[in-house]
Structures are given as C-alpha cells and as structure tokens.
C-alpha cells in the first residue's frame, strides 16, 4: 500500500529526532570522533551537537575552544547511539516493512 511506503532516509531522520538531547558519538570521514548532546537534525542528516568533546583531544587540539557544532550529514561515517534510547525491535520492524518478501 502506498501509505505504508517509508523511504529509509526519512525513517532514519525520525529515529534521530527521537534521540534529541541524548549523548551520541559521531565519527567523521576525516577520522575525527566527536561526542556531544544531539540538539537537532535535518533531512540531510546534518547534526547539531552541544557540549562537544573530541576523542583523543591531545592529538586533535584544533577544536579546544569549540563548545557546539554543526556537522554536515555527508561527512558522517558512523553515529554511535545510546542503545537504551533506541527501540531496536521497532526499528527492525520498520526497516523490514515494505521489503520484498
């Protein structure tokens, strides 16, 4: 049915929206990893983080004075989510819905 169709992009977007104000770690395609509180996300999966901390700060002091940031969705490699705030079963069902059987 047409109304059941949910492109994966908007599903993941919805999942991120439910995770606002949670702590996440974003690994970028330049190998930087940044931990912070997820403040907002948009349809491109651009991410805004508050109270950020760069992993291995001794090696990457470049962002010492940065407290919050905007990350372009296209440069994100991984996002580590807090598992206790993700309904894995729901996510599994939603991603399988509409897949060819």
């Amino acid at each position: 049915m047409r109304h059941n169709f949910c492109p994966l992009g908007s599903l993941i977007f919805s999942v991120f929206k439910t995770l606002t104000d949670q702590q996440v770690t974003v690994e970028l395609k330049n190998d930087l990893s940044i931990t912070g509180v997820l403040k907002s996300v948009d349809q491109f999966l651009n991410i805004r983080l508050d109270s950020i901390k760069v992993l291995d700060e001794a090696r990457h002091p470049h962002m010492m004075a940065v407290k919050n940031c905007f990350i372009r969705g296209s440069v994100v490699r991984y996002v580590q989510l807090p598992s206790e705030h993700v309904d894995t079963q729901l996510l599994e069902d939603a991603t399988r819905r509409g897949a060819p059987t």
């Binding site: 395609k29 330049n30 990457h60 470049h62 004075a65 940065v66 905007f70 372009r72």
Partner: protein, 95 residues
C-alpha cells in the same frame, strides 16, 4: 531543522574537506550551507612549529566543502596561546 541561524555574527571555526581550518565571524549562510565569513584567518597546524594564522579577509566557503562549523568560546580562545600548540593537521575526507 538543523539551521545555521544561531551562528550568525558569532566567531566560528570551519573544518573543510581538505583538512583546512578557517576561523572568522559568520556574516551569512544559505540553504546549501554556503557560508560567508568576515575577518577570516586560516590556521595552519604542524608538529614542528606553533599554529600559523594566515589572514584571508572576507571569504565565501561553498557548502560542499564544509565538514563542520563550530562556535568558538572567546574566553577559551583568549586563554590559549596558539604559538605553543603543536598538532598534526586534520586529515582530508576519505570516502
């Protein structure tokens, strides 16, 4: 919507796809996250020498090139002497 609105007129730090770091005051932005910086400087990091700052003036950065935009905390900025910081440059983006 994850907008850049909150960064206008603030001192920001940009990290670009090729690993360059640029600081400046955000003068404006658009839907494609193209950004105009005023009074901008490039910060060049190296292991052997302290951070070198190259003045760039008014700069337009294409949204495609941007990896990250961070708001700078002026108190921390002023407490740090860039000349004493030795660090590897940020690596370029690898897909």
């Amino acid at each position: 919507m994850s907008s850049l609105q909150g960064y206008v007129d603030r001192r920001v730090l940009l990290i670009l796809q090729d690993g360059r770091v640029i600081v400046g005051v955000m003068a404006g932005f658009d839907q494609k996250s193209n950004v105009v910086l005023s009074d901008s400087k490039e910060r060049i990091y190296s292991i052997d020498e302290g951070v070198e700052e190259i003045p760039l003036g008014l700069y337009l950065v294409k949204g495609d090139m941007i990896v990250l935009i961070g708001e700078l905390d002026d108190a921390v900025e002023q407490a740090v002497d860039l000349a004493t910081i030795h660090a590897e440059p940020i690596p370029p983006i690898r897909y």
